[in-house]
Amino acid sequence: MKLELKGISKAFGTFYANQDIDLVVESAQIHCLLGENGAGKSTLMNVLYGLYEPTAGQILVDDRPVSFRGPADAMAAGIGMVHQHFMLVPVFTVAENVALGAEPTSFGGVLSMDETRTKIREISKKYGFDVDPDALVEDLPVGVQQRVEIIKALVREAKVLILDEPTAVLTPQETDELLDIMRQLKAGGTSIVFISHKLREVQAVSDVITVIRRGKVVGDAPPTASATELASMMVGRPVSLSLDKAPAQPKETTFVVENLTVRAANGTNVVDGISFDIAQGEILAVAGVQGNGQTELTEAILGVQEHVTGSVTLDGKQLLGLPVKEVLRSGVGFVPEDRTVDGLVGPFSVAENLVLDLYDQAPFASGISMKPAKVVENAKAKIEEFDIRTPSAGSAAGTLSGGNQQKVVMARELSRPLRLFIASQPTRGVDVGSIEFLHKRIVAERDVGTPVMIVSTELDEVVELADRIAVLYKGKLVGIVPADTPRDTLGLMMAGVGPEGGSDDK
């Protein structure tokens, strides 16, 4: 099936999220839409899927113009979509989720789920998915949930499958598996629109790449285009993808974690006897698949976890048991993994967010009163220094793009003299241009002699930033290895296999 978009525009008020976009998806091709966060890729796909009505333009299926009044029309035309945030009902079974909207029923609308179960098993078998039709979706790992989404589209006989940032939530292994599935689908005649901002994946799997920037098509590129070329097209200016980083000059070891254990409410140890240290002027990157204790580890150091045992010392001072405020006052800068929940107060202004930790101290306060003029003054300086793109210092932080929100958090945390800097997922959901900037700031902080701890599930980022790499698996430390350790070894360590090969004791 050939799908064509002609001159599609979508405006929200006066803002054009898409402007005059032309796109042709040929049959049995993987067509990649590459663009930064906020470039308008998802909006375009929502138009294509009937969720939004285009302001102008036309959609053609096999050269016949169609108009979709809702997702049902799009599905009927053979278009399926896997959304970035899964559209699955957590308390339903796989079969119920797959059936929803096109339920096979017997007399009187009574569900007959057996038909759906059979179809799920057929598709699972064909593509090597391991999906139990009767499992509750909320009990499934993210990778499997994504397969349920794909099954949903396939059961409806989708000829064009839209995958919106499908790898954002996946581990490196799961990503490779997904790319294989995409190739299989293509071989079976399904076209795929693959939306991503990750160059490596795009290069690996695409037949055609269309780059979108600020709601407009910049141009097409062949999959053989280099990463630097693609990144420059996305951002609109030359980008350097490799970080110029001088070798670390570790000095005194001032941050020591010994035998740290965090017990979760269900009685398991989510962090289990972890010991490591970081020297001044060194970056330790903690790698691992999401959910292996990284969150709890950083939160335990900050003091927001309960049931923590062991020892965390900074400059010889015990941090465990101190209130969070005391920990911060000891010189700890902390960038939380989810900026929208823990890093920022969305409705507060950028200026206010920049002093969330210092609002009660001079120069921003005296006695019980705050000094708004000083807060704004500080904000202007930080906006300049960190290149935060915001309409004004008074704009609500929640309205900024992901990259700029992250810059606000980073600017705040780096605005005090630090004795330790912890950044969790520092560039998650951040555009390429901002990643470069944020990475440079992190290295700069190392170079002034701060011990730096980075937690990231992106192996690229870990390898890029680290002087040493610590790998977590199910709450335990698999090992600490040098930064030049081969990616394959790191991948295995992330699956729990020790660094010296095999399963030796160390």
């Binding site: 559209m87 699955l88 929803l100 609308g109 009685g267 398991t268």
Partner: protein
């Protein structure tokens, strides 16, 4: 640290230290001791008579004669045994099974009943009458909580159950009087409930007004409106507007003579039979049909439903309307079954009790039905105990079942999870 154990059995070493919450064993233990000491050892000396069949029944079953103190001790020991079993399970790191707190509650309530009856001036009570009366009083509650289940399952919080009941009660009385047929009144009540619900639906779904606020305002509005019309129209012209007559009791031959369950199941008015049908139909519909799957999807994850081509807001609108119609029928029970005329505020807060029943029943039609029965039992106990002359002040008696409910909800049932999108309006995009 061993890499072997890391790879093979992670977390397994930490498990022996895991303990389930001791809330259930502790609650059961304390209640059992209270029962044994107060209802047993310090229990009343009289023998309580618990009649199982009525004199007119075809099958006569002899009454239960239970000595107050001995019975209290026996029940207390039974409760203690159940609590001990729960504590034993706790020491073995096992959670108590679901039936245990429920069985415990039933025995506990029976022990309370025995204690009160044996301490009364006239230590005799008809169990059959007690239960049948509970069911009768529960009928409006069941309809009300079913309305709540339907609305919340589709994602709209229905605080207006009280208003729907009251609107139904008023309309049923008025229309039944004017047309001379209680059955037409019953239908009209459903329409009135639906009308109240439509206001809730329009404002909360289309105009995105806070659902709680619309609901509360509707309750006040309906109360004021019916109160005004009652005072100006109904009360001065009682014969013309407020003598609806009753729905006939339609006993099913033979079956209605079975002791205890006969009168409950087979000696009801149309509204009573309709209640059983409604519970079954709503349950089957919600969990076994396409309609129910869509309703639940809309209440749990409206966006997922939308992307599967389901019209979220239309589904919500019609379900809320249907819920209102069901509550309206419940309201008709006040004026067509319980008594045969409308008075101001006749629903008397039952709508809010129905709301509690729906939460206690975990957003499940059958759960809501059972919870409503418990509250119906509470209402009935209050009046019956007043008749047999218990020394305990009736206000305290009326409180007891609610206290049990609070214990049950907080300590025994555990955390229940409402539909994820309940109360959250759906805006596309």
């Amino acid at each position: 640290m061993s890499a072997t154990s890391t790879a093979s059995a992670p977390g397994a070493t930490a498990l022996p230290a895991f303990r389930p919450s001791m809330k259930v064993p502790l609650t059961l233990g304390v209640l059992a001791v209270i029962a044994l000491v107060f209802f047993g050892l310090l229990g009343p000396g009289q023998t309580a008579e618990m009649k199982i069949s009525d004199p007119g029944d075809a099958v006569a079953v002899p009454a239960l004669l239970i000595p107050g103190q001995v019975g209290g001790i026996v029940l207390g020991i039974l409760l203690l045994a159940m609590a001990a079993y729960s504590i034993y399970l706790w020491t073995r790191n096992t959670r108590s099974p679901r039936w245990l707190p429920i069985a415990f509650s039933v025995v506990f309530v029976f022990a309370v009943l025995l204690w009160i009856v044996a301490g009364a001036r006239q230590p005799s009570i008809s169990l059959a009458g007690l239960i049948a009366g509970s069911v009768t009083l529960a009928v409006p509650l069941v309809f009300g909580s079913l309305s709540g289940v339907l609305c919340e399952r589709v994602g709209v919080v229905n605080i207006a159950i009280e208003g729907q009941l009251l609107g139904g009660a008023f309309t049923a009385a008025l229309v039944a009087t004017v047309t001379g047929s209680p059955y037409v009144g019953l239908l009209a009540a459903a329409g009135a409930g639906a009308a109240v619900s439509m206001v809730l639906a329009v404002f909360s779904i289309k105009y995105l007004v806070n659902q709680i606020i619309v609901g509360v305002v509707l309750n006040v509005l309906v109360s004021g409106l019916t109160g005004f019309l009652f005072g100006t129209v109904m009360a001065p012209n009682k014969d013309q507007f407020n003598t609806p007559g009753r729905l006939d009791i339609l006993p099913i031959p033979l079956l209605s003579d079975i002791p205890i369950i006969g009168p409950i199941l087979f000696k009801q008015s149309v509204a009573g039979y309709l209640m059983y049908v409604a519970v079954a139909v709503v349950w089957f519909g919600l969990f076994k049909t396409r309609w129910g799957l869509r309703v639940r999807a809309v209440g749990e994850h409206p966006q997922a439903a939308d992307t599967m081509g389901i019209n979220v807001n239309a589904t919500r609108f019609w379900n809320v309307t249907l819920g209102g119609a069901i509550a309206g029928i419940g309201g008709a029970v006040f004026t067509l079954v319980t008594i045969d005329s409308f008075t101001k505020e006749i629903s008397g807060g039952r709508g809010f009790i129905a709301l509690a029943a729906l939460i206690f029943g975990r957003w499940n039609p059958i759960g809501a039905f059972l919870a409503s029965l418990l509250f119906g039992f509470a209402y009935n106990l209050q009046s019956i105990l007043g008749i047999i002359g218990t020394p305990v002040p009736s206000q305290f008696m009326a409180m007891l079942p609610y206290l049990v409910t609070i214990f049950a909800v907080a300590g025994l049932v555990g955390r229940s999870r409402p539909p994820a999108a309940s109360g959250i309006p759906y805006v596309k995009g």
